[in-house]
């Protein structure tokens, strides 16, 4: 088991390297001279040259990458063009609220998604199934920003139950996490349903029933455990959807997280911040998938750890 985890971590390194190279190249892919972009529209040639030296853009590209990686390991993500603050400082108080928001959304989406999916499969073609699947297909069709605005309109503006934005206290997390989790919840519900229906057709379920197991134990001990395996994988893959969605949801709710910072930085062309935020998002995503892989292997006894 330990060896398997180690193997997966080692396998991840080349991917992380390529991702770091791509995000490094990001600033070089923008049309035009990055030094000129950084120096601003009205900058003189001298200004541009000075900025170019400051940013190390006069160095050969491989050297720039080595410096970039070296700084990265020291925790130095560069300096924001907009605020002049170190990027890592700007991330410090925005990182955790975003993490809480995504985890909270994933948490309720998993629980409710599994419940709806299971009920739909058990009551196939009866009203709980129809209700569950109508909810789910609507959930995947709702644009997050619109759902968020409707929730603000009803629960903040009209009823005054929750704040319209910010991240102070648990109340400000309620509406954003409902908005962010709705799509995932629906996908998981649909997926749980079809996965469970598939498992319920298997021979070992028939055997279980034939030997007189209670239906509840067939369902929980045998069917659910086996259909959970693909659901976990999907949940991990959909985590990327959450990270992308968080950008939109944080903008709707003026939530002081990483996603909102990214969008504000794009508007200002604050490239060091954009670059580091993208890198951080993808590292987060890769790590989550690693955790999912490990979880998957503990759930599925068929996987061999060689």
């Amino acid at each position: 088991m330990f060896q398997y985890i180690l193997k997966r971590i080692i396998e991840m390194i080349p991917l992380l390297l390529v991702v770091s190279i791509l995000t490094f190249l990001f600033i070089h892919m923008i049309p035009g001279d990055p030094a000129r972009l950084v120096a601003g529209k009205d900058a003189t040639l001298e200004d541009v040259n000075r900025v170019s030296i400051e940013l190390g853009l006069d160095q050969p590209i491989w050297k720039q990458y080595v410096t970039f990686m070296g700084n990265l390991f020291k925790g130095d993500l560069g300096t924001s063009l907009k605020t002049g603050l170190p990027v890592s400082n700007m991330f410090a108080d925005r990182f955790m609220p975003s993490i809480y928001l995504t985890l909270l959304s994933m948490g309720w989406a998993l629980v409710i998604g599994l419940i709806i999916g299971t009920l739909s499969a058990v009551f196939k073609n009866k009203w709980p199934d129809h209700l569950g699947m109508v909810t789910a297909v609507s959930g995947i069709s709702l644009p997050g920003f619109w759902l968020g605005l409707i929730l603000i309109q009803i629960f903040s503006v009209q009823l005054g139950w929750f704040p319209t934005g910010g991240a102070e206290g648990w109340k400000s997390y309620v509406l954003p996490s409902i908005t962010l989790g709705a799509g995932i919840m629906s996908m998981l519900a649909r997926f749980t349903r079809s996965s469970l229906l598939e498992t319920l057709k298997a021979d070992f379920i028939r055997t279980g029933r034939a030997k007189g197991l209670k239906e509840s134990s067939v369902l929980t001990k045998h069917a659910l455990r086996n259909s959970l395996i693909p659901v976990v994988t999907i949940a991990g893959l959909q985590f990327g959807f959450l990270l992308g969605g968080s950008v939109v949801v944080e903008t709707v709710f003026s939530f002081p997280g990483m996603g909102r910072l990214l969008i504000d930085s794009i508007a200002f062309r604050d490239y060091p911040v954009i670059q580091s935020a993208l890198l951080l998002f993808s590292i987060e995503f890769i790590l989550v998938n690693l955790i999912v892989d490990i979880l998957y292997s503990t759930l599925n006894p068929k996987i061999q750890y060689e």
Binding site: V19, I150, V157, G244, I263, A267, I286
Partner: protein
């Protein structure tokens, strides 16, 4: 024609009546009542996309400062926005933008992804490894974030949105098609073609490609829904259509400030996006049940 015929041939293991393959598909699809109804709605949208600008009661760009932020009335059935522009007319004209941006980006991604996926599955070896590892790298950037990054590099605008959305569709299509190719490769008719000395290109596109079409059709339909949401999200974030364009996402973004006072400015384009995406998802579900029952909910 050829695509559908090969698709249904698989199903003809238990033929009920002798229908032509297209007819059989049509009969099966009509039984999917929700999906059938949804496809009629999409047909309506396509008609609106074509004739929308000529049936719009008002000029979608022309401001009318005497009639700003009016609620729905007999004059303006969906109300007016902050410049007094008729929302109904803007939604009608915006249909073309929504449908063309989403379908072109998905088709672009599908074409590139399909070619890569077939080559990857057919040739295997180092080419397969390179293509699959590159798609792993692309998957490491969560999809909407990848699109945001691309737009950040290329600059905002609808054309760049199309590029961004199609780029993030490529790896999913490549994986899907690679999977079907690996399966199709095992067929005896592929082996027969090989042994007769057919060139690779011919085997890939004449023999293997038709085998992947049924799952492709399903996936394209589903992805159009995703693409509409992605493109309107980008417009909402100010990275897509410019604010005066009657793009549904941009309209919603502009209306945000009037949520408390004139919520219809936000509601109407939102309903339009929701219904359109819903229709594509329902048709996708129906097509999957008819064409490709194996790949439920992928």
């Amino acid at each position: 024609m050829e695509f559908t015929s090969t698709v249904t041939e698989k199903k003809q293991v238990v033929p009920k009546k002798k229908y032509s393959p297209v007819r059989e598909f049509w009969v099966n699809f009509k039984h999917q009542k929700t999906a059938f109804f949804a496809s009629m709605f999409i047909l309506l949208l396509i008609i609106i996309a074509i004739i929308g600008p000529s049936i719009a009661p008002y000029d979608p760009y022309k401001p009318d400062y005497d009639a700003t932020l009016q609620g729905p009335s007999s004059e303006h059935i969906l109300g007016t926005d902050e410049y007094g522009r008729d929302i109904f007319s803007r939604i009608l004209v915006g249909t073309r933008i929504t449908l063309s941006v989403s379908t072109s980006s998905v088709l672009l991604g599908a074409i590139v992804g399909t070619v890569l996926g077939i080559m990857s599955g057919y040739f295997g070896g180092w080419l397969d490894r390179i293509i699959m590892r590159s798609s792993d790298v692309m998957f490491a950037f969560p999809d909407l974030l990848l699109a945001i990054a691309i737009v950040a590099v290329l600059g905002p605008g609808l054309n760049n949105v199309i590029i961004a959305v199609s780029v993030f569709s490529v790896p999913s299509f490549a994986r899907l098609v690679r999977g079907s190719t690996l399966e199709a490769k095992e067929n005896t008719f592929v082996e027969a073609a090989k042994s007769m000395g057919a060139p690779h290109k011919r085997i890939m596109f004449k023999h293997i490609f038709p085998e992947t079409v049924s799952s492709l059709i399903v996936f394209v339909t589903m992805r159009i829904g995703t693409a509409i949401i992605a493109a309107s999200s980008l417009s909402f974030l100010g990275l897509g259509a410019s604010p005066e364009t009657p793009d549904w996402g941009a309209m919603l973004s502009m209306g945000r400030d009037y949520l408390g006072t004139a919520s219809h400015v936000v509601m109407m384009p939102g309903i339009a996006i929701f219904l359109t995406v819903l229709a594509f998802n329902l048709v996708g579900d129906g097509l999957r049940d008819v064409l490709d029952p194996k790949t439920k909910n992928e």
